[in-house]
């Protein structure tokens, strides 16, 4: 009996007697002897709770988190304020500890939450069908690919370069398995190149993948871009940041067949990237091809309203190799967090949040553009994130800002070599005007310092001024 177990020596003796063996080892004899480990695992011995706490707190201290730094990094995950009621509700054992609601009579809480979540996501995206959530954003994109192949019997995806690099890469990974080909369409002035897109879509195209706002923060004209998909009978898949749906036209009203995205900005903490959740909405036509759990309304034998897992015939535990997706454990608790956050924001608060972000972002964009050595990378409309080009090496500038306690943004160079000096700056309602001003000052000082360093060091470093839009 060590941690979290209860069997005392007396218990053990009674239990072994009831089983009819002399020792627990006997029960393990079904494992062929050579396969029994026969030694302790090469792991440390267990620690007391206080020691584990100190150990983990010690590790946590070596991270610069958004409580410590002023965080302008976004790139798909954002430092929003998660209201206290989210934690209070998601930490209740009744939500925290149960399994997927296979016994609906004693799972009405979780099932109704799913139903409410579906309703909310359906409202946000303007599409009638929502599931109860997938793992996270990029893998949801890949699941949309699988759906599109099933729906169209085609194997070609046309993908905007504005789609999150992680989504594009994940889609490519999955495509190796289910066998699809990816065609990428570039950006122009921050937006998907419409002509190139139209040219790329053909009768073999299963789906067109867009993101709006795209990775560079620019709001795409989804409806215009989607026309090519409609024309060729391809599905239009739109990835979106749910927070921006507070002000942007819902993808469902722009012709999207599927709208999906990373759910973290809704009621989920940053957590170094997870757990969060993916949302996934579609047209009625796709309801029986949807991935993931879906709660549906029904009645009990006495006529009481209730909720159950609906359309389970799509799922792996019923349909096995013919399932529409392999997902089982998803991210129910994270979706609950989102639902509570959305309810807390409410109809008006959600809208106001979007407006606040758009305005502060406009302010920040203008403020930064006025800084010597900082230019806008594109001039397309944005909601809460925008890209600039620096006249200095980005990594060095970021380091200087970090020394002033500011995480200035996400460097674009690795994923967009054409923007080697690009920086993506994200705004949340936590970023005050004073912090934005401080960012502008820090960036200005850092760029100036690096230009100085560059001048005195110019034979060792590459030129810096390419690529600003």
């Amino acid at each position: 009996m060590t941690r979290y177990t209860s069997a005392t020596p007396d218990d053990r003796a009674e239990m072994l007697a009831a089983i009819g063996v002399d020792s627990v080892d006997e029960l393990f004899e079904q494992i062929p002897e050579p396969l029994r480990l026969g030694r302790p695992l090469a792991l440390p011995q267990g620690l007391s709770e206080a020691e584990v706490y100190e150990r983990l707190a010690g590790l946590a201290e070596r991270n610069a988190d958004a409580e410590e730094q002023v965080c302008f990094v976004g790139a798909g995950m954002y430092d929003h304020y998660v209201p206290a009621i989210v934690d209070a509700i998601t930490s209740r054992s009744e939500f925290l500890t149960p399994y997927t609601p296979y016994q609906p009579e004693i799972s009405q809480g979780g099932l109704q939450v799913m139903f409410e979540f579906q309703t909310a996501m359906s409202e946000l995206t303007g599409l009638p069908v929502s599931n109860a959530g997938l793992y996270e954003g990029p893998s949801s994109v890949a699941s949309a690919g699988y759906l599109a192949m099933g729906a169209t019997k085609r194997r070609r995806f046309v993908v905007s370069r504005g789609l999150h690099p992680h989504s594009r890469e994940t889609l490519a990974t999955y495509a190796q398995g289910y066998g699809a080909e990816l065609v990428e369409v570039g950006l122009d002035g921050g937006l998907t190149d419409a002509a190139a897109l139209a040219a790329a879509v053909d009768a073999e195209t299963a789906a067109v993948f867009l993101q709006s706002p795209n990775f560079l923060g620019a709001v795409e004209d989804v409806e215009a871009l989607g026309a090519a998909a409609k024309e060729h009978g391809a599905l239009l898949v739109v990835a979106c940041d749910p927070i921006t749906l507070s002000v942007l036209k819902p993808p469902g009203e722009q012709g999207a067949d599927i709208a999906l995205g990373e759910g973290q900005p809704l009621g989920n903490r940053l957590d170094f990237g997870g757990p969060s959740f993916g949302f996934f909405c579609a047209t009625e036509a796709q309801i029986r091809r949807m991935p993931g759990r879906i709660a549906g309304e029904t009645e009990d034998v006495d006529g009481r309203r209730g909720f159950v897992l609906a359309l389970q015939t799509r799922e792996q535990h019923i349909r096995r190799e013919k399932a529409t997706n392999n997902i089982c454990t998803a991210q129910a608790l994270n979706a609950l967090g989102a639902m509570v956050h959305l309810a807390w924001l409410g109809r008006h608060g959600f809208r106001e949040l979007g407006e606040l972000l758009a305005r502060r972002t406009a302010y920040a964009r203008e403020r930064l553009a006025a800084v010597e050595g900082v230019e806008l990378l594109h001039g397309a409309p944005v909601v809460r994130e925008f890209a600039v080009a620096l006249d200095a090496p980005v990594e060095a500038v970021l380091e200087r800002c970090a020394e002033r306690g500011i995480a200035a943004g996400y460097p674009l160079g690795r994923e967009y070599p054409e923007h080697a000096n690009g920086l993506l700056v994200a705004i949340t309602e936590r970023r005050t005007r004073a912090q934005i001003d401080a960012l502008a000052d820090a960036l200005g000082a850092a760029v100036a310092a690096e230009r100085g360093a560059f001048r005195s060091d110019s034979d060792q470093k590459a030129p810096l001024s390419e690529g600003a839009a």
Binding site: M1, Y4, A7, R12, M15, I19, V24, F28, Q30, L37, P40, L43, Q45, L47, L56, R62, N63, A66, M77, I89, T97, Y99, T100, Q103, E105, I106, G109, Q112, F115, E116, E123, A132, E136, T170, G177, L270, G273, G274, P275, I294, T298, E299, D300, V301, R304, Q312, R320, A323, I327, C328, T329, L333, L336, V340, A343, R347, A362, V383, A402, A407
Partner: protein, 507 residues
């Protein structure tokens, strides 16, 4: 209103939308502090939403009440015994929640420069090392988000491995007892499933396996196994199985959902598996959350390593006196690529690593030993009562951490199906076992008590089953109409699928 109808039963379920009233709100936002330009000046009007999204309008106190009351309509692990087979409903230590919530973890941006995320990367590396030792395989990727995601990863790795050798293989073998995610993953990964039969001891039917391989050995990409399998039985032929698959050139995949049976006792790597997924939400105490989040790290052998997903957490030795540096390796030229955004479900890693630190080497081994003890005891307790006749064990030998009963005699003799028994258990305050899985067993009832249950709980559960069977002998209608005391009674699941209503009215 019947006097005994509880307030919870009496209150008609209403969604939060149905509690909404125009003009109410909870959130108050900060002042803008910047010029309040009309939105149309910032974003073209044709791209803007015409009306605010229809979200509930409701004040904070009622939001809290709504979800607190909903929570009470859930049965959970802290409500009582939850022997849901294959799900490993073990205790969820609250310590793990505490350390996961530290701002250094919870508010760490995933794109933080590794130099400023050394604690997080070291934690991931330490977890990789621990899982590697537990699985007996040298390399680990933490990236997959759940077991099924790990399965997909494993199959993509298999594909990449074969492709790297210039091979194309099309078939993945899996026993008929396998979990639904296995065949679903196979199809999703572009393979075809070949079902392998089960022998009379509950293991892989070796002749059938041989036959299926010999049909076309060059097409065998992989065999997916759970071991102990979903019958709770360890496949004694595993070494021979491994040899057969390896001889054919396939990989051997270990569905780690049942790892809780063997931690510190036997390692998949030693059994010959090439790829293993671990459900951190099962064996490593991540709470199930009503359906997630989880995480499904994979451990692999040397030959699979080059293909692991990107990025991979690595430890670089520090030079000239500096300590080691933990980094994200984004290069990995042969990698299958990303399976998701960023680095994985880090919050889950924190919890599971805290769990491993808490239990340590001995604790993990003892957890598995106790899980096996508890399962065998409950099996014996049930067998000694009415269940021995009505609900016999499907394969009668010592089980590992779980066992499967068959309700076939109960159905025939008492007219009670497994579902009736399950529903009646609700009135006794128990979560029922998994029902109707594995498919192989008629009227299956799959029981996994886990190591964190007391003998008293096991006894009480056995007593309840006994009582229900006894009750059914005199009046089977009681169970057939059960449950009686739950917030709602038996629900019409068919209706929900035939005419699906999957979203509510929004105001």
């Amino acid at each position: 209103m019947a006097l005994t109808e509880t307030p919870m039963q009496a209150e008609r379920a209403r969604t939060i939308y149905e509690k909404s009233k125009t003009g109410r709100r909870a959130a108050v936002l900060p002042e803008a502090e910047v010029p309040e330009a009309p939105l149309e000046e910032l974003i073209p009007a044709n791209l803007l939403r015409a009306e605010p999204a229809a979200l509930p309008e409701i004040a904070e106190p009622e939001i809290v009440r709504h979800y607190n009351k909903l929570s009470r309509r859930n049965f959970d692990l802290d409500s009582g015994f939850y022997p849901l087979g294959s799900c490993t409903m073990k205790h969820n230590p609250r310590l793990n929640e505490r350390v996961a919530a530290l701002p250094g973890h919870a508010r760490l941006h995933p794109a933080q420069d590794p130099r400023r995320a050394q604690g997080a990367l070291e934690l991931m590396w330490l977890l990789q090392e621990s899982l590697s030792e537990i699985c007996g395989l040298p390399h680990v990727s933490l990236q997959p988000s759940a077991g099924s995601h790990g399965e997909l990863a494993g199959l993509l790795l298999t594909r990449a491995y074969h492709a790297d050798r210039g091979e194309t293989r099309t078939k993945v073998l899996a026993p008929d007892t396998s979990h639904g995610t296995n065949p679903a993953s196979v199809t999703m990964a572009g393979y075809e499933v070949v079902k392998v039969a089960t022998n009379e001891r509950g293991g892989v039917e070796m002749d059938d396996l041989r036959a299926k391989i010999e049909e076309d050995p060059d097409q065998v990409a992989c065999l997916m196994l759970t071991n102990p399998n979903t019958l709770g039985l360890f496949d004694e032929n595993i070494e021979e199985i491994a040899a057969l698959i390896h001889a054919a050139g396939g990989t051997l995949y270990y569905d780690g959902a049942n790892l809780n049976a063997v931690m510190g006792h036997s390692r998949p790597g030693d059994m010959g598996f090439d790829i293993v997924h671990v459900n951190l939400h099962k064996s490593f105490s991540q709470p199930h959350g009503g359906g997630g989040p989880g995480a499904g790290p994979i451990a692999v052998s040397e030959r699979i390593e080059p293909f692991l997903p990107r990025p991979q957490v690595v430890r670089r030795e520090g030079d000239n006196g500096h300590g080691p540096f933990f980094d994200l390796d984004l290069e990995r030229p042969k990698s299958i690529g990303r399976l998701r955004g960023f680095q994985g479900n880090f919050g889950v890693f924190v919890r599971s690593y805290a769990y491993i630190l808490s239990l340590g080497a001995d604790g993990l081994a003892e957890a598995s030993a106790t899980a096996v003890l508890n399962a065998n005891y409950l099996k014996a307790r049930l067998a000694a009562g009415r269940a021995g006749q009505r609900l016999p064990i499907a394969f009668d030998r010592h089980c590992m951490h779980e066992f499967v009963l068959s309700g076939k005699p109960m159905k025939k003799e008492l007219g009670l199906v497994t579902l009736d028994l399950a529903k009646r258990l609700l009135d006794f305050g128990f979560h029922p076992p998994t029902v109707y899985f594995p498919l192989l067993v008629e009227e299956a009832l799959m029981v996994e008590p886990t190591e964190t249950e007391t003998k008293e709980s096991l006894d009480a559960f056995a007593d309840a089953v006994e009582q229900i069977l006894a009750e059914a002998e005199s009046d089977p209608e009681i169970a057939k109409s059960a449950p009686y005391t739950t917030p709602v009674r038996r629900l019409d699941e068919v209706k929900a699928t035939r005419r699906p209503v999957v979203r509510g009215e929004a105001q």
